[in-house]
Amino acid sequence: MATEALKRQIAGKWQNAFARLNRDQEGITGLLAFSEAWALATEFLHPRDLNGSMANKELDMVKVRLAVETLSKSKMLPILLENFLEDMRKQQYLITRDVNQFMLQYEETEDVHHIARLVYRILEWYRAWVPITELGHTILSAYTLTFQTHVYSILPPSFSRGFKKLVNATFDLAQSPVPPPWLPPTPPALQSPVPPPRPDLPLWSAFEQLGLLDRYESLISSVCYEHIEAHILETCSKRWGERMLQPLREWMTNRIVPWMVMPYARGARSAEEARSMLQGVGSRFDFHVCKTLSDLRTREIFDIIIDFPDSQPALEDLKECLQRVDQRTQLVQTLRKANRKRLLHPGADTKDILTQYVSIIRCLRLVDPPGVLLFKVADPIRRYLRERPDTIRCIVASLVGDGESGDSLVDENEPIQPLQQMQVEDYTDPSWEPEPIDAGPDFRTNKPSDVISTLVSIYDSKDLFVRELQVLLAQRLLAITDGNFDRERRNIEILKIRFGEAALQVCEVMLRDMTESKRTDQHVQSQKHMMLHPTIISRHFWPPLQAGKFAMPGQFKLIQDDYAREFHSFKQDKKLRWLPHLGTIRLEIELQDRTIPVDVPPLEAAFIELFSEKDTWTVDELIARVGSVDRSAAIKSLTTWVDMGVLKEEISNQYVLLEVAEDGSSVSTGGAPPRPARVIEEVSAVLTVEQQQAEQMRVYWKFIEGMLTNLGTLPLDRIQTMLKFAPGYDRTIEQLGAFMEAARREGLVTVANGMWKLSRT
């Protein structure tokens, strides 16, 4: 049925094919030569079982090359390749068998040794099946691709794990001069005439030839990351006393970079080339070093701050790391969390919080000079401190350098400077810089100021401090008995520099009162010698003192009056008002059988004076004689005498004078039953600021009572505005509301629809 044209077409094709295969040889000799060459080439390329004979290697390579040339001329190479790949597919089960065997061993023993051997073995397969180079690049890469695709497809997941371990082991390999016993002998394919300088070289070249480096690139770098992390954790944890970043970088240069040459700079012909190849990956690892170190230091930051200034090198490291990696937010969050958990709770001493706060200030200034980090961290601390009642007291105590309170918040070497106010941005300053990029909206550019300014700025006004200072100074001045005020004078001078002269005028007056009293006393004594040496203070300038309401009886009264008379004749326009509960009295008590010299507070003296009138007193009688005294205070001072064996509690609440000492009672270790230890409470002479405020609130209550009596019911805001009639009223409406609420609970007022009314009694 074939048409003429079809026949011609087939004949033409035939002729073409024949010409191609016969290559213009005579007859069919070319064809014969081709089929010989084909047979030889396929025989040579046939993937063999490694465990079988290595016969193909014995083929004459010259002949093989000739055969390949012949095939190439006949343009039959693609067919040859197809044929070869098909053969490979048929033989692949050999490799699969081997791989399974090695992986089975590895899974049983978890020994990387098996992985290394597996790698070498696969390499052997690869080398055994590789076609000769004369076949051209295309065939070679097609072979490699097919081989690797197959190998990767049969590697079980556990191989990645094993491979990771093996890579990890290369860190040690790279350093050891001789190959460790577990490393399998280098396969002949990788052997070179010169022994490798490092035992890990053959492994790496095996990895490369099998394409494992590309396939497991991320795994290899993660091994390196983990290695770096482990090293940093091991060497740097809790070591804050020295800079670690530089040694770490040296370690990188000495240990990691030589290792990195293998996976990342293979084939570099010169050191120069290697360096440029390593640059990218090297900076990635350097970043990782910085990040790991900054993470570590961030985790440790609270303790680092506690250790400051010993931990300064660690902070400098942190600073350098933070410039490289952006972990500032993490640092802030971690520190805030640590502060909340470890610092800002009721169990922490205010003093400790302040100390830590000051350390935080110093540390974060070091890490971040513009103060953005500090601002973010300090905010919760400052808010917390503001709520603590004794914060001001603590700051003030450290301002005047309270000797006994341990290490001072203020560095002695720091120059004393005036308190710094908030500064407005000076845009004309040539070195002005914009706010840092991560500064919050309410960030205040406070220029690095001294610690005290920062502490004082916890509160909105410094008046509170000045008031607390006066209270503190009053206590300290009254406690001085030896007349040496140099220390206080020095403190006041220091504080003047900080707070300004005007704020401390009152303190100045208080100090002058002390010296003035001494001079007045000298004058009075020169007129008439007296036993009394009072401290005369100007009531107006001193913080309110605890009012003592009792009167000194007997001879003390006479002495007081005597002194007052002399004083009045010296200073006509002034009047003495005694504060009898302050001070001490030196007594000599003459009894029938003994004389007791003793220094006692005034109330004790007053009582014992009364006992010179009669021998037996009840507590109530005594209290009635001296005026109004707390019963507990009275019993306390009587107990003082009982302890000294001067008085004795005969029956309950009745004391008798012991003119003759009782046996055993004067010796406290005697048969007398042990008395509960005397509670010595330091009654502060000066009203604290809180007490003063409570006192003020009493005044305001009178006003509230007055307005509600006369004006009927009032809403809270009217009360607030009306209270401006009360001198010095400075409460907020919230404080007033709380106060009114307290009054309501006590049943003093009622409230309905926001209108306050006095309860009618």
Binding site: F703, G706, N710, L711, G712, T713, A726
Partner: protein, 180 residues
Amino acid sequence: MEQLTRSLAPARTSHKSAVAGSGGEGAGSVTKRLSNELMTLMMSSSPGISAFPKSDANLFEWAGTIEGAPSTIYAGLTFKISISFPPNYPYAAPMIKFDTPCYHPNVDISGGSICLDILQDKWSAVYSVQTILLSLQSLLGEPNNASPLNPDAAHLWNSPEEFKAQLMRYYRPINDEGSA
């Protein structure tokens, strides 16, 4: 040195303003006197008398409260009064009238005006709100029947039962008047 002068400067000016305030006869000194009196009145707890400015804007208009002293015929009764201070106080007496109708020989029952010598010709600058209130309280118990504003009351004074009846007829307790 600079600091020294700076600290001195405000002190000097404040001193000057204080001098001006006391020297001039302006409203400032009256206000000061009134707030002092208010302070004194609030802090002295005299039973049964009280007074307070009606609003925070005007210190010259006060409202007062007087309770009848115990063991007088007015015991247990509370009277509201208004106090109005003249601009030249304390050189002139404040004007005082009862807001609560008060049946009393020296009080006008309809207008509430009071006949008391220290509020008229016997006024002196040493008197204060407190002394006035105390005087009014004692006037309730001891009327001056010689110069009555309410002759009926003066007439009835010696018959307590009838007086009390009249008193209670006019008296209105001050309950929940709301704010003044």
